[in-house]
């Protein structure tokens, strides 16, 4: 079990930052990292340690996706209770999940750097593809395996993310 401990130690901080980028909340990010670690430990501790990085990433990204889904459902239910909402209002709810991000980021974490803020504003899939390729340094093929999608989708997400990042940074720097 020492090898599992060593592996988790190498990824825990970066996993937390990845989850916090997606959620903008320390506690939520810790919950996601906890879920990911436990799932890996329960289901894959007997697997080949060489497979752990990709397995862990896949679990982590799925946990983040689940978190997004739950947030959307919660937001929709909350609005449903308060309003007889239109489709337009539903879209506002969906956007609101991400719209909170920059402000919370500045207030809660006192993060510096426009790049980090721009990254937080990316749609979930683009953010995942961008982080996995650029920061975690996975290949397109590995990223596709982790994200359970085609390599073409990864390339599209990554390209759009890079474009969006450049555009957001231009706006921020003006």
């Amino acid at each position: 079990m020492q090898d599992l401990d060593a592996f988790l130690k190498t990824v825990q901080n970066r996993a937390f930052v990845t989850a916090r980028l997606a959620t903008s909340h320390d506690d939520e990010a810790l919950d996601i990292v906890q879920d990911s670690m436990l799932k890996l430990a329960r289901n894959y501790s007997d697997s080949d340690p060489e497979d752990w990085p990709k397995l862990f990433q896949r679990i982590l990204q799925n946990c983040i996706k689940d978190w997004y889904r739950k947030q959307k459902v919660r937001s929709v239910l909350h609005w449903w209770q308060q309003h007889d909402q239109t489709e337009e209002e539903l879209n506002i709810v969906h956007d609101a999940i991400r719209a909170d991000t920059p402000q919370q980021n500045q207030e809660s974490f006192q993060l510096t750097g426009k790049i980090y803020q721009a990254l937080q504003q990316l749609p979930m899939r683009q953010q995942q593809a961008f982080l996995l390729r650029a920061w975690w340094e996975y290949s397109t093929e590995e990223t596709a395996q982790i994200m359970s999608c085609s390599q073409g989708s990864v390339k599209t997400h990554y390209s759009r993310a890079t474009g969006a990042m450049a555009s957001l940074l231009q706006k921020m720097l003006v």
Binding site: N13, Q34, A41, I115, A134
Partner: protein
């Protein structure tokens, strides 16, 4: 990918690495605690798995023992039947008294042989008269 993109990605990596290496102490402590819990969970799962595997072998082991026992008993019976003439010759030559079980088997074989002879005789008579 343009040079600007490369520069942006390089800066982003630096910033994220910095973020990951400069987490608040309470966050690092929380992550260490989560990691230890996960490792304990893996140990539990592994020991449960071992127990499950151990018990899963029990029926196979029991079946193997049963098969071996059956083979031994069958073999013993076969030997008893097959070995009869040898034992008889041995008994006759060495004048060692056979055991009760061996005598019973011998007598039974003799009775069967007598019955068979009678049957074949009757069959021969029937075929001649028919």
């Amino acid at each position: 990918m343009s040079n600007n993109d490369d520069q942006m990605i390089k800066q982003l990596k630096q910033q994220l690495d910095q973020e990951a290496s400069q987490l608040k102490p309470e966050t690092v402590n929380a992550l260490d605690k989560l990691r230890r819990e996960a490792v304990q969970e893996a140990e539990k799962t592994r020991s449960k798995g071992f127990q499950w595997n151990y018990w899963s072998y029990a029926p196979a082991l029991a079946a193997s023992v049963l098969v071996v026992m059956l083979l031994i008993s069958t073999n013993t019976n076969d030997n008893a039947v097959v070995d009869v003439p040898i034992q008889i010759s041995e008994i006759q030559s060495s004048e060692i008294q056979p055991s009760g079980f061996e005598i019973a088997v011998m007598n039974e074989d003799m009775e069967l042989l007598e019955e068979d002879v009678e049957f074949y005789l009757w069959l021969a008579e029937e075929s001649v008269s028919g």
